[in-house]
């Protein structure tokens, strides 16, 4: 069976949830067979973040990462293009590149020395005279390449030839992404260094938290919030706060403009963005200029998440149903002064990495969510996802499926709906469109 030959899905995954009633079955966070289907139906199909342009600016620059559990090399070739291909030798399958990042003219496999170009082509084999004419056609034996596309500096890849274009996959989520990626003419850049860590938790718990769980912050992060802000989070006020969902991607947010930036604890950063705000409003409109920097969290399906105002950006790589690898970067406005970048870096790392005053409390929760499923009885119970079922609205400016109130399970329900849609589909053509795009075929800024 080759990838993307369309076999019947092994079961009906809709039975693991009733999103009208508002519940999800716990087995999707534990079951090995469900996880195997996720690798095929989610990770081998969807566009996933692999790198930002600023991580691979020059020819030969590369990073290695994973699409699902498939290791990939992401490298900028001499033609200026970024190529993404399996980090696995086509000879006996050894890992080709063992570094996280660097610069290379070519990648040479350790086992027998097959060499690959930074465009993912098989360049040469040692002792090639051992091979007779007709033994190998080198042009056919490069590692499998992914499709690559980028949006405003973010590079994405998918191994599915039938996946929709990246623009269609993102849909109107682009409108929201612009508030993060394009609120200034210089855009964003990644600071150097990747924080990588393991948690013994199902990958979906990390993603669903960022996609729409403002609710936990007030309780989980009370201690961290008090330490960072000098007092508790202000009492929850649902007015002028929203959850928006597009194709399973989501963003939950207030519109006060500064709540998350303030958590960084740097007056210099607050002043920088206060001065930027009028320019930002000119560029992306008044509403999106208030959206950026507010108390908010966001995730792109399936596993890329970020906190725009706190400037942390991460991917949740699956490592089996009960383990994940988290990779974290700090994002800064490219045109900001170095002192602002450093203040963001310090505040972002102080709050959101495994040592962070806020994040430290999250991993514990998600490991608990996962580990209690060891119990056969526990595993067959339901989890409640019913908050805010009747709060859907039409908004004149906000695209996607919009719900009122930041404390709401709406984005999480829609994330699991997208999950079930993909798990049940034999191919992309069977995946239903669940919202009406406003920006189909045109730019969002």
């Amino acid at each position: 069976m080759k990838p993307h030959e369309h076999a019947q899905p092994p079961q009906d995954y809709s039975r693991y949830m009733d999103l009208k009633e508002g519940w999800v079955d716990r087995r999707i966070f534990w079951d090995e067979a469900i996880y195997e289907r996720e690798l095929e139906a989610i990770f081998a199909r969807c566009w996933q973040f692999v790198a930002h342009d600023s991580q691979v600016p020059n020819a030969g620059d590369f990073v290695t990462t994973y699409i699902g559990e498939d290791g990939v090399i992401v490298s900028r070739h001499t033609d200026g293009e970024v190529y993404v291909y399996l980090n696995a030798c086509t000879h006996r399958g050894n890992k080709i590149c063992f570094a996280d990042e660097g610069n290379a003219r070519r990648f040479t496999c350790n086992y027998h020395g097959w060499a690959y170009s930074t465009a993912g082509e098989l360049l040469g084999l040692p002792s090639e005279h051992a091979y007779d004419p007709g033994d190998i056609d080198r042009t056919q034996w490069g590692p499998r390449k992914a499709r690559v596309a980028s949006y405003k500096g973010m590079i994405f890849a998918t191994f599915d030839p039938e996946a929709p274009s990246l623009d269609d996959y993102l849909g109107d989520y682009r409108w929201y992404l612009d508030a993060f990626l394009d609120n200034d003419e210089g855009g964003i850049e990644f600071l150097p260094g990747t924080i990588k860590s393991y948690a013994n938790a199902n990958w979906k718990f990390g993603v669903e938290n960022f996609i729409g769980d403002a609710y936990h912050a007030w309780w989980t992060h009370d201690a961290g919030g008090r330490a960072m802000m000098g007092g508790p989070f202000p009492p929850y006020d649902p007015s002028d706060t929203f959850q928006a969902s597009v194709n399973g991607h989501g963003w939950e947010f207030a519109l006060e403009g500064v709540g998350d930036i303030a958590i960084l604890g740097s007056q210099e950063v607050i002043d920088y963005y206060t001065a930027q705000r009028p320019k930002m409003a000119q560029r992306i409109g008044e509403l999106r200029a208030r959206l950026f920097g507010s108390l908010a969290s966001a995730a792109m399906f399936p596993n890329m998440t970020f906190l725009p105002g706190i400037h942390t950006f991460r991917t949740w790589l699956p490592r089996g149903p009960r383990k994940l690898e988290l990779r974290i970067w700090t994002v800064v406005p490219k045109n900001a002064p170095e002192s602002v970048k450093q203040a963001i870096n310090i505040g972002c790392n102080l709050t959101f990495n495994p040592a962070g005053t806020l994040e430290m409390d999250d991993g514990e929760n998600w490991e608990g969510n996962t580990r209690t499923n060891r119990g056969w009885v526990s595993r067959h119970e339901k989890l409640h996802y019913g908050c805010g079922k009747s709060r859907q609205i039409e908004h004149p400016e906000l695209p996607g499926i919009v719900h009122e109130g930041q404390f709401n399970d709406a984005n999480q329900r829609l994330f699991y709906q997208r999950w079930a849609d993909l798990m049940n589909a034999k191919s992309w053509s069977e995946v239903p469109q669940r919202y009406t795009p406003r920006y189909a075929g045109r730019p969002t800024r």
């Binding site: 260094g193 690898e325 870096n345 310090i346 790392n349 005053t357 430290m360 514990e364």
Partner: protein
Amino acid sequence: MNAIAKDVQAATQPPSLELVSEVQQFYYREARLKDRQDYRAWLALLTDDIHYWMPARVQRYRRDERPPSRLDSAYYNDSMRELDKRITRLETDTCWTEDPATRTAHLVHNVEVEHTENADEYRVHSISQVYRNMNEDEEHTLYCLREDLLRRVDGQLRVARRLLTLQQNIFMNKSLNVFP
């Protein structure tokens, strides 16, 4: 003689047994305060201008290796202000993940003391080992190469700089709730 040459000369002067013993006793006290979670007393062992730094670890080929920069992502990149916020979090009474408390054992190994060109400051290399036991049965052991600048302030040793090189490529735990 230029500054680097002076520094090298100072570093090659062997430390006295008294000094080595003083540094070791200082480290053991520091470790005990952390194991007892008496973090305010621990902070008092650091100078006001402390830089407490554990940069991200990235696996590179030898030809691509480079020293960390202050702009790198980091587990810790703290002045006293940031360290104080971390301790404040633990003092709030709502820090659920530290209740029940984490059980720790901080050990300091391979202590090597060097003089510097400044008579009041010593460069000290060591290995910090932290064993943690959390929740029901979770175990994690962390090793960091540690390079300190110790300064004598009013006769007492204090940590003025600490550079921690994490000896793990992927940090193999969900949280880093200790100060190696």
